[in-house]
Symmetry: C2
Subunit: 237 residues, 2 copies
Amino acid sequence: MVFKNTIAAVSPVRISAVPFRLGRAGLSVAVHPVGEGGQRLPAGVPAPAEWLDVAARRIVRERVGSHEQYLEQLYTFGDPATEDRTVTVSYLALFRDHERHDEDSAGLTWMAAREVVLPSEMDRRVLDYALMRLRAKLGYTNIAFHLLPPTFTLSDLQLAYEAVLGHPVDKRNFRRRMIASSILEQLDEKRRDGSHRPAALYRFASRDDREAYLTPPWAMERPEVVAESIAASHDSQ
Amino acid sequence: MVFKNTIAAVSPVRISAVPFRLGRAGLSVAVHPVGEGGQRLPAGVPAPAEWLDVAARRIVRERVGSHEQYLEQLYTFGDPATEDRTVTVSYLALFRDHERHDEDSAGLTWMAAREVVLPSEMDRRVLDYALMRLRAKLGYTNIAFHLLPPTFTLSDLQLAYEAVLGHPVDKRNFRRRMIASSILEQLDEKRRDGSHRPAALYRFASRDDREAYLTPPWAMERPEVVAESIAASHDSQ
DNA sequence: GCAAAAGTGTTATTAGTACACCCATGC
DNA sequence: GCATGGGTGTACTAATAACACTTTTGC
């Protein structure tokens, strides 16, 4: 007997995003103010014939008013508490602080992550998970770069790590690790911005992030790489 | 202006699972035969008022005919190729070989992973990703245990790793690492199963998997502190 | 006694951690 | 000349990787 993959029921599908950036106040999230001092995460609905990841990108850009530097699907929640069996697909989005943001493009504001108050249980779950993933990924990917401008100093980079992690890291060990990783490329210019020694400027040496792990290669759009990696995962016996 | 999180459209939501177990032929997948030598991954639809993870568990148990040892959500795909905008939520499921499986409970059969032929593009994506995640997780979690019976020898465990990874690992380093991790507990009994020295039997010392996210040591500080800091970053100031 | 799998240590290399002072600049 | 952040090295410890022989059993 062969089972039919029958599709019987339908559910509303919702996309919910956590847009992060690094501001003067540290790690910030873009939220919609709602009610008395509460906020809600930006969300939306995919259009017909639209991949979820494409829909997420569109929704994030519409709401935030600028282009994200990084987008990653997190987790999908089915909430039985909702009458209509809403399914929420959550995304993490990273922005550069220096990019122009139409602050009020959609009633959206950037708030320090620790000051956000989310009345929605689902929103809290999504934010918690996004933060956890972001922190974890600092350790084994170059994800932090997506929060920084194209050129930056090692101190900038370290501050980014500390802002996300929530605790200080050792300067010498940090710099050694970063330089050893050889994803940084030192520029000739230096940045002079105060009464102190100028800081060397860096940029990323390579475009291809190795966020390989949790993000499937085909979920990121790099056709050639995708094919190879999928092939390899079967061959390697 | 405050944006409404309007839920306008609905989509069929489908759950697709990759049930793995370790058999004599190495890593096997449970599939439905379909067409001429092709297969399809087991799939189903969530019921009303059912969490996705609960639905996935139910579907996997119905199809495979026994209880999975481990279940994890993988990725959610919106396939614009389907007329009705089907959304597929994919899951990884691990089974113990020795459990009784109603082989034909739903026309389902276990096949060596490398021999599976999936006509569906979506099915191939899901299987590829499941395998990638399973392999990656071997390295930093005790996920392999869910593929083994309650008691096992170190050789069993090593064979499990090798079957999933697809390459041999060093016996002495493997045993040292496993024992050092102190998640194993040696039993008094030994297993005699051939004309050779009997092997010591082990079981898992703890129930709680630490699939703790890939948290690098230097991002960690002390465990409690991290927990606090995650909490703190949400509690409104 | 021999086949078959279990079990066991050492060495070399690499990665991580802790820690404190001098350097270049603007004012 | 002093305040400010930029930049540097060393010693200790822990983790990883490579590598081959002895032990216990069934027959």
